[in-house]
C-alpha cells in the first residue's frame, strides 16, 4: 500500500504515543488520598479487577485505533493490490514543457502563443490525473530545469507551476530534459514499478528540435515508459516567417572619440554591420524588413535615441542579409571611459524575442598605452640611434590628434599603480623586467589588458623570456639567441586573417608590407600553436603572434577542445580577457626596416585599437548559457525587472542566464564594473517546421531504439503523438485506485464515539506496589 502523504501518516502514527503517555502518566498526576478503610477498597478492587483491566485495554485500544485511523486517512492510502479495490497503482507523468525562445511564437489567427497552447494541454493532462498519480515538470528552456522532480502527488502545485511558466530567451534543451526525466524515473524500484509516461509539449521547430543531433538514450533502460509528444506542424502546412537579428558588429570594439563632444562630432559616425536571418516556411516568399540601429549609453533609455534606420528587401528564398549602418557614438563622459549599447531592432513579427539584438561597445576619449622602457636623455645619433621604444612612441602618436595617450614607464618603477588605467602596454626591453614585474604584467593581462612584447635589440643571449613564459603561462619556447637572416626576408601579405586584429588593413597590407624586410628574428621557429599568427614572413616564420586569455587558460588546464564554456557561436563571444602579442623582431632598424616603413604606424595602431577591445573581453552573451562578466565584478543586476545573478570566481556567472536584456555588473563594494548584454538565442528561435516522421524518429532515439520513421506518424507501443481532443488517452496505466481516506475517516468517527461511551462507563483503577 502506498500513501499520498506519507509524512502525514508517520506524524499521525507517532501521535499514538500521546494516549499511551497519558495512560502512563495518569498514575503520577494526583496527590494520594490517605484512606482508613483501605482493606474494603482493595477487596472491592479485587472483585472488579478483571473487568477493569479489560475495560482499560479496550479504551486504550480505541484511542490508539482512532489516532491511527485519522493518520492513515490524512495520509490518503491507496490499495495497490488489484483484488482489493478497483484501480491499480498510480501513474507517473513527466511533462516536458517547451518554454524556450521558440515557444514565444504567436499562432496566426488565434493570436495565442505556442507556450500558452502547451500550458493548456499540460493543465488538461494534470487535471485528469487521479489522487494516486504523480506529476513531474521539466522546462525545456536551456539548460533544462527540473522544476518538479521527482514527480509529486501535489498536483495542485504542479498546476500552479505550469501556469506560472513563461517563455525564456534560451534555446530548447530537450536532451537535458529527457536525461533528467530518465534519471528521475529510474531512481528507485518503486518509481520503475509505476506506469510512467513522458509528455513532450513542443512545436519541434528547427530551432527547438535539432533532428540532426541524435538524442541521448535517456529512456533506453526504462522499457515501460511511454513517450507522448505534441504533433509537429506538417511540412506542407502554412507556417510563420520569423526574421531574426543574429548579430550586430561594430567596426571596432572600442570607439575612440578623441575627447571631442558628441554634438561637435557630426559626421564622424561609427559603422555597424547587422546580420539578419529569416526562418520558417515563408522564406520562399519575398518581403521587407525595417531595421533601426541605435547607440545609447549603458543604463540610459534606448528610446531616447533616434538612431539609424534601414530597410531590407528580401528576395524569395533569401534567408540571410547583412546591412551596414552608421551610428552616432555617445560621449565617453568625464571619466574618460564608458560603454555604449548598440541595439538593432526590427519590426514586430511572429516571434518577438529575437527582434532585438544588443551589443556593448567601449567608448574612450583616448586609449592609454604604456611603454615600458628606460628614458633616453639627449637626441644625438639621428634616426639610426632611435630605440625600439622611440619607434613605438612615434607609431602610437604620429600626430597630435591621435586619440592615444602614451605613458612612459620606467622598468624599475613598474608597479600596479603604473599599470592602472592602461588599456595596453608595450615592453620593447623585456630583459630589464624582473620576475615580479612579469607577475604584475600577468595580472594586468588577466584584467583585460593588451601586452605587446618585442625582443631587446642589444642582447646577445635572451634569458629574459623564461620569466615572461612562466608568469603569463604562455605556450611558447623562445630561442636563446637571435637568428640573423642574410639579405632579409619580406612580409607575407597572404598571412593576414580576414577576421583578425589586422583585418581592417588587410586590403592595403600587400602594398604596405612589400617594402618591409626583417634581418634578425628571435624565436620565430620555436613558437607553436595555439598562438595565432597575426603576420607572417615569407620564409614561413611569424613576425607577430597573439595568444588570448582563453587560449592561455586552455593551455594551463592542459585540455584540448575549442571554445570554452561560451564557445564562439555567432562570432559573439570573445576568446576571454587579456591578449599577449609577441613581435619576433625588435622594432629597430638593426633588426628590421619596419619602423621606417609605412606599415609601422597602421600595424601598431591596429594592434592597439583592435587588440585593446579584444583583450577587454566580450560583454555580450547568449541566453541559456553562463555569461562572462567584466573583470572584478561579482554581481549582475538586470536593467528592469529580474533577479540578480552571482558571478563565479572564474568571472563567469554561476548559472545560465535565460532572459535577454542588459545587466549592470558590480563588484563586492557595489561599484559599477561594466555592462553585459544578453541576447536571445537566434538559433533556438528558428521557426522552420519539420517533418513529423523525422521528429518521431529523432524522439525514438531517446528510447535507445534505432532511428526510424514512425509509420505514417502513427502511434505505437512506446511513442505516440498526443491526441488534441483527448490529451490523456495515451498515458500509461489506469487511473489510480480509490482512496481509502473516506472509509478511514468514518472508522475514526465510529471509534471516537466508542471512546466517548467507553470513557463514560469504563473506569480506570489499578493497584500500585
Amino acid at each position: 500500500m502506498s500513501f499520498v502523504h506519507p509524512i502525514l501518516l508517520w506524524a499521525g502514527l507517532a501521535s499514538i504515543a500521546i494516549p499511551i503517555a497519558i495512560h502512563l502518566l495518569m498514575s503520577q498526576r494526583r496527590r494520594p488520598v490517605e484512606w482508613g478503610a483501605m482493606r474494603f477498597l482493595i477487596e472491592a478492587y479485587r472483585k472488579q479487577k478483571q473487568r477493569l483491566r479489560v475495560e482499560q485495554l479496550l479504551l486504550l485500544l480505541a484511542r490508539c485505533l482512532l489516532l491511527a485511523a485519522l493518520a492513515a486517512a490524512l495520509g490518503r492510502p491507496m490499495l495497490e493490490s488489484a483484488g482489493l479495490l478497483a484501480g491499480g497503482a498510480g501513474r507517473t507523468v513527466y511533462i516536458l514543457l517547451d518554454d524556450s525562445v521558440a515557444s514565444g511564437v504567436v499562432r496566426e489567427g488565434s493570436g495565442e502563443s505556442a507556450l500558452a497552447e502547451h500550458k493548456r494541454r499540460a493543465l488538461e493532462i494534470v487535471s485528469s490525473l487521479g489522487p494516486s498519480d504523480r506529476a513531474g515538470l521539466i522546462l525545456l528552456g536551456g539548460p533544462a530545469r527540473a522544476v518538479v522532480s521527482p514527480a509529486s502527488p501535489d498536483l495542485a502545485a504542479v498546476r500552479r507551476l505550469i501556469e506560472e511558466a513563461s517563455s525564456t530567451d534560451a534555446a530548447a534543451d530537450l536532451a537535458g530534459a529527457l536525461e533528467a526525466a530518465g534519471a528521475a524515473l529510474g531512481a528507485s524500484d518503486e518509481e520503475r514499478s509505476r506506469p510512467a509516461s513522458v509528455v513532450v509539449l513542443s512545436d519541434f521547430t528547427v530551432g527547438s528540435a535539432d533532428v540532426s543531433r541524435p538524442l541521448p538514450a535517456a529512456l533506453g533502460e526504462l522499457p515501460g515508459v511511454r513517450v507522448l509528444a505534441s504533433r509537429p506542424a506538417e511540412a506542407g502546412s502554412a507556417g510563420v516567417v520569423n526574421v531574426q537579428v543574429t548579430a550586430i558588429e561594430p567596426l571596432r570594439p572600442v570607439v575612440l572619440t578623441g575627447g571631442v563632444a558628441e554634438e561637435q562630432r557630426l559626421g564622424e559616425r561609427e559603422q555597424v554591420r547587422v546580420v539578419l536571418r529569416r526562418t520558417g516556411p515563408g522564406v520562399a516568399e519575398g518581403g521587407v524588413t525595417s531595421l533601426r540601429v541605435r547607440g545609447a549609453e549603458a543604463g540610459a533609455p534606448i528610446e531616447g535615441s533616434l538612431g539609424s534606420q534601414a530597410s531590407v528587401r528580401w528576395q524569395p528564398g533569401q534567408a540571410e542579409a547583412t546591412v551596414s549602418v552608421q551610428v552616432d557614438p555617445v560621449s565617453a563622459g568625464g571619466e574618460g571611459a564608458a560603454s555604449m549599447i548598440l541595439t538593432a531592432e526590427i519590426d514586430r513579427d511572429a516571434l518577438a524575442a529575437d527582434n532585438v539584438h544588443r551589443r556593448v561597445v567601449g567608448v574612450r576619449d583616448a586609449l592609454r598605452v604604456g611603454v615600458i622602457a628606460r628614458g633616453r636623455f639627449g637626441s644625438e645619433g639621428g634616426i639610426t640611434a632611435l630605440s625600439a621604444a622611440d619607434w613605438i612612441r612615434l607609431a602610437l602618436r604620429p600626430t597630435a590628434g591621435t586619440p592615444i595617450e602614451v605613458v612612459d614607464i620606467e622598468p624599475a618603477a613598474l608597479d600596479g599603480a603604473a599599470l592602472a588605467g592602461l588599456e595596453a602596454a608595450f615592453a620593447p626591453a623585456p630583459d630589464l623586467l624582473r620576475d615580479e614585474d612579469w607577475t604584475r604584467l600577468a595580472r594586468f593581462v588577466e584584467g583585460g589588458g593588451l601586452l605587446v612584447v618585442s625582443p631587446p635589440a642589444d642582447a646577445s643571449v635572451h634569458l629574459w623570456s623564461d620569466g615572461m613564459i612562466r608568469a603569463l603561462g604562455l605556450p611558447w619556447r623562445v630561442a636563446r639567441e637571435a637568428r640573423t637572416i642574410e639579405g632579409g626576408v619580406g612580409v607575407d601579405e597572404a598571412s593576414v586573417e580576414a577576421s583578425g586584429l589586422l583585418s581592417l588593413i588587410a586590403a592595403e597590407l600587400p602594398s604596405l608590407a612589400r617594402p618591409v624586410s626583417v634581418f634578425r628574428q628571435l624565436g620565430a621557429e620555436s613558437i607553436e600553436a595555439p598562438g595565432r599568427v597575426l603576420l607572417g614572413l615569407r620564409d614561413g616564420s611569424a613576425l607577430a603572434v597573439a595568444v588570448s586569455g582563453a587560449e592561455r587558460a586552455l593551455e594551463g588546464a592542459g585540455s584540448g577542445g575549442s571554445g570554452g564554456a561560451g564557445g564562439s557561436r555567432g562570432g559573439e563571444r570573445g576568446a576571454g580577457r587579456g591578449l599577449v602579442v609577441y613581435l619576433t623582431s625588435a622594432p629597430v632598424l638593426s633588426w628590421t626596416d619596419l619602423p621606417a616603413k609605412p606599415l609601422m604606424v597602421p600595424l601598431v595602431q591596429e594592434l592597439v585599437r583592435q587588440g585593446a577591445g579584444a583583450a577587454a573581453g566580450s560583454s555580450s552573451g547568449l541566453a541559456g548559457r553562463p555569461v562572462e562578466a567584466p573583470a572584478r565584478s561579482r554581481l549582475l543586476r538586470p536593467v528592469g525587472e529580474g533577479a540578480e545573478i552571482v558571478v563565479g570566481d572564474g568571472g563567469v556567472t554561476a548559472e545560465a542566464v535565460r532572459r535577454a536584456g542588459v545587466w549592470l555588473a558590480t563588484d563586492e563594494s557595489g561599484r559599477a564594473r561594466g555592462v553585459v548584454t544578453v541576447n536571445a538565442d537566434a538559433d533556438g528561435a528558428r521557426t522552420g517546421v519539420q517533418d513529423p516522421g523525422a521528429v518521431g524518429a529523432w524522439l525514438r532515439g531517446a528510447m535507445g531504439e534505432a532511428a526510424g520513421e514512425m509509420a505514417g506518424g502513427t502511434a505505437d507501443e512506446r511513442l505516440a503523438w498526443l491526441d488534441d481532443a483527448q490529451p490523456t488517452a495515451g498515458l500509461s496505466g489506469r487511473e489510480g485506485g480509490s482512496p481509502l481516506a473516506l472509509p478511514l475517516l468514518i472508522a475514526a468517527a465510529v471509534l471516537a464515539v466508542a471512546e466517548l461511551v467507553m470513557a463514560r462507563f469504563f473506569s480506570h483503577a489499578w493497584r500500585e506496589a
Partner: protein
C-alpha cells in the same frame, strides 16, 4: 443525626446541653477533660436523670460461721448477745469495674471533616496535630466521657489503648488521680500499625480477676472471625462488653468523584482508582462488614453502638448508661 434546636418556644435562645455533644462543639474544646465534663453534663441533663442515684452499700444477712471463714467478718454484737458465731454478710459492691479499650491503630487516623470546619474559626488542628476531626478524636472523646461518668459514680475505671497490642494502659482504680491518668493516656496519638483485637483481649483478660464491663471503642477494621474469637473469650470469662464502632461518614458514603490514588493508613499500599467505578462494590463490602461486626456482638448478647464522626455522642452515652445499669442489676440479682 438529629437536628439540634436553637431556639425555645418562648423565643429565647435555647440552652440545650446536647449541643455540647456534637463533634464541632467537642472540637472547640481544648482538653479531653473539659470535653468529658461537657459530654456527661450534657447527656445527663438531656436525659433528666441524676447521675448519682442508687449509690449505697447495704447489709444483706447473717450466716453461721464455718471453719475457714475470715474472722474479720464475724458479727461480734450477735456473739455478745447470743454467744453464737455468725458472719455478717453485706450486699455485694454496687459499683462496677469499667475497662475502656480504645483503638489507636492507623485506620483511626482517618477523618474527612476538617478540624477547622468542625471547630469554626480559630483552631486548624487538634491536639494530635492532624487537621481533621479523626475517628480517634471521636473515640477518645467517647472514652473520656465514659470514664468521667463512671468515676463520678464511684466505679473503678481502667484504660488500655491498643493497636496490634496494648500501647499504653492504666489499671482500674477509682482514686482521685485516676481521671488525670486516663486523660494523659488518651492524649496518645494513633500509630501506623493495624489492630489485633485478639491479642489485645488476651493481654487485657490476663489482668482482670473479677467481672468487668469492657467498653471497646474502635472502627473494628479487622477480620470479623478474629473479633468473634476475642469476644468469645471475654464471654467465657463472664465479662460484659459494649462495642462502640466509630466510622467516618465518608467511609460510609464513599462519595469521591475524581480519580485519585488511595493510600492505606496501615501500610496496605496505594490503589489508583476511579471511585465512581468501585463505589458500589465498596459500599457492599463495607456494609457487609459493619453488619457482621454487629451480628457478632449481638450473638454474644453484647451491646453494639455505631457512631459516626459527624454525629453527636448522645446515643453511645445513653447506651453506656443503660448497659451499666443493666449490669448492676444483674449483679444485685446474681
Amino acid at each position: 443525626m438529629a437536628e439540634v434546636p436553637t431556639t425555645s418556644a418562648a423565643g429565647h435562645p435555647a440552652v440545650d446541653a446536647t449541643l455540647y455533644l456534637h463533634p464541632q462543639t467537642l472540637a472547640r474544646l481544648g482538653t479531653l477533660e473539659l470535653r468529658a465534663k461537657m459530654i456527661v453534663e450534657g447527656v445527663m441533663s438531656g436525659m433528666h436523670r441524676s447521675p448519682y442515684k442508687g449509690f449505697s452499700v447495704e447489709f444483706a444477712q447473717h450466716r453461721p460461721y464455718v471453719k475457714g471463714d475470715d474472722i474479720r467478718h464475724l458479727d461480734w454484737k450477735v456473739y455478745g448477745r447470743s454467744d453464737k458465731l455468725y458472719l455478717k454478710q453485706y450486699e455485694q459492691e454496687t459499683s462496677l469495674d469499667l475497662v475502656l479499650l480504645v483503638d489507636c491503630s492507623g485506620s483511626m487516623r482517618y477523618g474527612s471533616r476538617s478540624f477547622e470546619d468542625a471547630s469554626g474559626a480559630g483552631r486548624k488542628s487538634g491536639p494530635s496535630g492532624l487537621a481533621n476531626w479523626t475517628k480517634y478524636d471521636h473515640a477518645t472523646a467517647t472514652a473520656a466521657a465514659f470514664a468521667y461518668m463512671a468515676l463520678r459514680q464511684g466505679d473503678r475505671v481502667g484504660l488500655g489503648i491498643y493497636a496490634d497490642s496494648l500501647v499504653d494502659a492504666a489499671d482500674r482504680s477509682s482514686a482521685q488521680g485516676q481521671w488525670r491518668r486516663i486523660i494523659s493516656i488518651l492524649a496518645h496519638h494513633p500509630v501506623g500499625r493495624p489492630s489485633d483485637i485478639g491479642h489485645v483481649i488476651d493481654q487485657t483478660l490476663g489482668k482482670l480477676t473479677n467481672r468487668c464491663l469492657i467498653a471497646i471503642i474502635s472502627d473494628f477494621f479487622e477480620d470479623p472471625a478474629r473479633l468473634r474469637t476475642a469476644l468469645a473469650r471475654i464471654k467465657h470469662r463472664q465479662h460484659d462488653v459494649i462495642l462502640c464502632q466509630v466510622v467516618d461518614r465518608r467511609e460510609q458514603t464513599f462519595d469521591f468523584s475524581e480519580s485519585a490514588p488511595f493510600e492505606g493508613l496501615e501500610g496496605e499500599g496505594r490503589l489508583r482508582v476511579d471511585p465512581r467505578a468501585l463505589r458500589k462494590a465498596y459500599l457492599e463490602v463495607f456494609g457487609a462488614h459493619l453488619e457482621r461486626v454487629e451480628k457478632t456482638a449481638r450473638s454474644f448478647g453484647f451491646d453494639y453502638q455505631l457512631a459516626s464522626t459527624h454525629d453527636w455522642l448522645g446515643p453511645p452515652l445513653a447506651g453506656f448508661v443503660a448497659r451499666r445499669n443493666a449490669v448492676l442489676k444483674r449483679s444485685k440479682s446474681g
